[in-house]
Symmetry: C2
DNA sequence: GTTACTCGGTTAAAAAAGCAACCTGGTAAT
DNA sequence: ATTACCAGGTTGCTTTTTTAACCGAGTAAC
């Protein structure tokens, strides 16, 4: 009643993990631009074409964790219970993410997560590609919200809010505060930001 | 100046090791006949056809360690330094194996090795197949020794001696003695047995 | 201004692995 | 006696991976 987890699928999943882990740890150690895909492939013990079969570009080796959330906003809207407003569903979803300290909210003080965020935001090509992902996310959300310019505006606003909130949280964490310390403010900020939207 | 160890070769070697290790440890735990090749394949996380691509039969999962020594006697003869008699070369080779407690000499008290030997010798189908390997070894050695019935006789005698010596050593180990304790006797036995041959 | 690297990324062919289905022989239920 | 299952192996067929070669862009040497 769950995933049809054959031998092949299991190994693919593990290979993917191994590649991404090798890449991220090398990036964290030496910096994104000072690690070549050849070195990553060697560390993960796979060939270069295999690497690019799993990840379309070097950037995606880092961003796949965001890519896994791709279209999530659209899914939340489409999968909401009847009688619930789209924006309300997105708001509840974000609050839940805050409560479990989901890294996408920026509210997570695990050293690995913090280092990972710093890697992304301090590497231009990564930050650039990330915004491109977010644009695609925005379009998908707009589709889910309906038609017309109105849907696009609403989608842009919601995602903008999430970006700002995440950035604010991550900034406070980067300043040395703990996630649980920041949590109340994060919730208050989210409340304030979202309530202006409905 | 060594093996040109590409990615492919390395992974094949590791897969082979993983299969054999999984098989032997399952055999030691439950007995050769109470473990199916399906269980081995599952434990090694490979498919059944893959298992049989690496090992021709179930028995070879156990005997590949002997198979790795296949033709060794013939190689020793062919690779001997000039001026050295074939039998002398074989004798020195066996003595050296005794001195490093090579499992093939029976003179090894590591629990895993002992358990492995008991597994082989107490499982009829394994013991049977092992003697078939030894026959092939004997033919190869005979070829290396020259032509005629004389070469065959000599080959048979040398390998018979090695079998008897190994069996004697392993018996003493199985009786609870340590390898280093048995070592002097093993050397003396080997000396006596080989010297009657020259 | 060539030459010759190295980088990210691609291509084509060949090897290897997975999967499902099969074969043969034994053994247990019905 | 039939049925049915499980054992050790095998047979295509498809998917995945390796390999080596290549591309186009940048860059350092000379």
């Amino acid at each position: 009643m769950s995933e049809p987890t054959g031998l092949r699928a299991r190994k693919k999943e593990r290979t993917r993990e191994a590649i991404a882990d090798a890449a991220v740890s090398l990036f964290l150690e030496h910096g994104f631009d000072r690690v070549s895909v050849n070195e990553i492939a060697a560390a993960a013990e796979i060939s270069k074409p295999t690497l690019f079969r799993y990840f379309p570009t070097k950037e995606d080796l880092v961003l796949h964790r965001f890519a896994d959330h791709q279209g999530e906003a659209a899914r939340v809207v489409r999968g909401r219970e009847s009688g619930i407003e789209p924006v309300a569903a997105l708001r509840r979803h974000f609050q839940a993410a805050l409560d479990r300290y989901d890294p996408v909210t920026g509210l997570n003080d695990h050293p690995q997560v913090v280092a990972f965020h710093r890697l992304v935001f301090s590497t231009p090509s990564l930050a650039g590609r990330l915004t491109r992902y977010q644009l695609e996310d925005e379009e998908a959300l707009a589709d889910a919200l309906g038609e017309g310019i109105q849907a696009h505006v609403q989608a842009a606003q919601v995602l903008a809010i999430q970006r700002v909130l995440a950035r604010a949280n991550w900034q406070k964490i980067a300043d040395g505060r703990t996630a649980s310390d920041v949590h109340p403010e994060a919730v208050a900020d989210a409340d304030e930001a979202f309530s202006e939207l409905q």
